[in-house]
């Protein structure tokens, strides 16, 4: 069956919106309509709330939504990674249970992969799931779990076989986060924020049917989740960001959406600061008069060269992607470039600040934002894959240099691993 034409799709969706879209609806009511209509997730299969559309048609649909200021399905957090994973590896029962409420925003999800003992080495997870009668009993600890305190469901990677090699002893589950055996604790960061949680499992249970994929094949399922995560990070959803910019966003549904967005975005409030705030560096140098110092000009110029070049490199990567050209090396470099930019920005902010760099809070420059920059910058080169991992990836995948020798091939039981760190909040 050939795809419909873009113009017919545009006509269909705008017609449907004209009949159905109403800013005074409740968010949940509207989204249920949307899910039923297939316009909310047109790239999804027709069996599951979608229309099996190609990317270009999806863009057309999104543009029509934007033109009318219509709100789409819920997208915040990791819900769409969960959905993509369930679509690929879940049973019909899983899809029936979870997909709709993912799109309506009624359910919130979190991703339970990372552990204190396995940072860069996700497959080294030691949280265990043991089958006991009709349920899996989970014990262990996860870390770096964004929004775990808002989630009612978690995507859990846990070890079910200790005698298999590392990657073959893991299984993948959906776990109910609102049960006594699950304890979510915020994790304070050195910059004073707490964007992540620790999650402790103490005889927590997963019902037998909530295994996703096969026992021992959890790593493959997790790879699906991670691939979608990477795609999201690389992807460019703009290109029509100015469409519908003149729509006045008034109505009950916008207010409800704003609350939802605020909750989802709360862990990320300090992210502009961790990126180094290059924008502020220039204006601070000008406003403070520090621009008169030739050393400040030299260092600022270095920063601007670096950050502009990084931005243009990202644009080159996107342009190539949009033209369907093969991915050049420029695509893999963004994360590493961001670390360099952030560190250089911190240096320049310090140089501009002088003694003021010793101050924070309301005493600090720019009402404490500069202090937050200085204390947040170290996160860029760690979070989401350390610089070391990025360099490995670039060397091995882009430059085709030899892979590191593996030291973790035998039964996982025998692989050297970290003694689990037991922090406050856990009862053994």
């Amino acid at each position: 069956m050939s795809e419909p034409s873009e113009s017919s799709v545009r006509a269909d969706v705008s017609g449907w919106l004209e009949s159905n879209w109403d800013p005074d609806l409740g968010l949940n009511e509207w989204r249920n309509k949307l899910v039923d209509s297939g316009w909310g997730m047109p790239e999804w299969p027709t069996d599951w709330f979608g229309r099996d559309f190609s990317a270009s048609l999806v863009r057309a649909v999104e543009q029509e939504f934007a033109k009318q200021g219509a709100i789409g399905v819920a997208r915040g957090g990791i819900r769409l990674l969960a959905a993509a994973t369930l679509l690929e590896h879940g049973s019909t029962a899983h899809k029936e249970q979870f997909l709709r409420r993912i799109l309506t925003g009624e359910d919130n999800w979190c991703q339970l992969f990372s552990e204190p003992g396995s940072g860069s080495d996700l497959a080294g997870a030691t949280t265990r799931a043991d089958l006991d009668g009709d349920q899996w009993v989970v014990n262990g600890q996860k870390l770096w779990t964004t929004s775990a305190h808002h989630a009612n469901w978690g995507l859990l990677l846990a070890r079910t076989d200790w005698d298999a090699p590392k990657h073959e002893g893991l299984s993948y589950f959906v776990i109910d986060m609102r049960q006594p055996g699950v304890d979510v604790q915020p994790l304070a960061q050195m910059n004073g924020h707490a964007s992540f949680n620790q999650v402790f499992f103490d005889d927590a249970v997963v019902e037998r049917g909530h295994l996703i994929g096969e026992i021992g094949k959890g790593w493959q399922v997790a790879m699906t989740t991670l691939a979608h995560e990477r795609r999201r990070a690389d992807g460019l959803r703009s290109g029509y960001s100015d469409v519908g910019a003149d729509i006045e966003r008034v109505g009950r549904i916008y207010d409800e959406e704003q609350v939802e967005t605020a909750t989802v975005m709360e862990p990320y409030t300090w992210y502009p600061q961790r990126a180094g705030r290059v924008d502020l560096a220039l204006s601070r140098a000008l406003d403070s008069g520090r621009i008169e110092d030739p050393t400040v000009r030299q260092e600022l110029a270095k920063l601007l060269i670096l950050s502009s070049s990084a931005e243009w490199t990202a644009r080159r990567a996107r342009a190539a992607q949009q033209m369907g050209k093969p991915q050049g090396p420029e695509g893999s470099l963004g994360k590493l470039a961001a670390s360099h930019v952030a560190r250089a920005a911190a240096r320049v902010h310090t140089l501009i600040s002088g003694a003021d760099a010793m101050l924070a809070g309301s005493d600090g420059a720019e009402d404490g934002i500069v202090a937050e920059i200085l204390l947040s910058v170290p996160a860029v080169s760690i979070a989401g894959g350390t610089d070391e991992i990025q360099r490995n990836i670039i060397a091995e995948r882009v430059l085709q240099m030899p892979k590191e020798t593996r030291f973790d091939k035998g039964p996982f039981r025998d692989v050297p691993k970290n003694v689990s760190t037991r922090l406050a909040g856990e009862n053994e």
Binding site: L304, I305, S309, T313, M323, I394, A395, Q400, M401
Partner: protein, 398 residues
Amino acid sequence: MVWPPMVSAQFHFTEEQDQFRDMVRRFLVDTSPTTEVRRLMQTDAGYDAAVWQRLARELGLTGLTIEEKHGGAGFGMVDVCIAMEEMGRALLCAPFLASSVLAAHAIALVASEEDAGRLLPSIAAGEVIATLAITEPDGRPGVDAIALPAERTGDGFVLDGRKHFVLDGCSADVLLVAARSPGSTGSDGLSLFEVAPDAAGVTRRALTTLDPTRKQASIEFDGVQARLLGRVDEAGPGLVRTLDIAAIALANEMVGGAARLLEDTLAYTKIRMQFGRSIASFQAIKHRCAEMLLQVELAKSAAYYAAEAMDAESDEATYLASLAKAGASEAYLHTAIEAIQLHGGIGFTFDQDTHLWFKRAKSSEVMFGDPAWHRERMMQALIVKERASSEAQMGQPA
């Protein structure tokens, strides 16, 4: 100013440009292997006349940006930069930068239509090699540093002084000389003159260069009769633009050299065995190669972007020319240092080719202004612009 400045850039090459690049690369792989580079760098002229003719006739490179009415191809800056990048990869020894970039643009931007019609066709055809003499013995970059006086004598002009660092100055058939009306400063009072190298009072001397693949000359003008090109005292803006174009072209040459060095170094680390394994398998080497790639790709992005900005006649062209030149200088030198290092002792020998690019990198680093000078220049451009924009905002109704 929007940050970072965004001209209407493509951020990619067109299919035609990709084909053009392939063509130039194939040609240079054939005509400029390092055996040829080594042969030519020992000669006085420093280039192969036959290859130059082929560049002109088969590829039309010599007149790449010269207008079609003057016998050129009428291409843009992006195309010049593609050619320069490939020449940098191949370390081509040829007067392209001197004649087809510096001189051709200086003429197009400064000279009268009549003079352009007289001079450009033979440059485009590769029959005449021209060069531009700007820098003087003190080595200071930029047009402000031009001090050589042009004295008006009756119906003509007489030049007295010395130009240094003149690219291909000993082999050029036409010398374009930037000179100053006595008493003027900055970019005012500058004029461009044409001088025949065999004119009375001209003495040319080859400079001993650190990079033997690019020839430079010191030229003395002792009461030399010179022919004015364009209007007297009004060459400043055209010369500034010519130097911006040259800086962008050079930046692209540099990223080509850097990319080639990285490729060669990667290939070497993969075959070089130490301790029973290829040195490319050592993590410290892998991580450094990853950083080299990052430096090279960042510099490429800036060099490409500056070329697009120049084609778009962007206000930011000066800013971006300096940004691209400073970025490429650091990236090329870093890559060259790392390339020698990762080749180990072999990399320090004359027989191994890495040093050829290292010397080009070192020399290009300071040509047309060193990185610190270009950083200062980009900041001055930015400050002027920022102040103008904040004044404009204050002047506007809220």
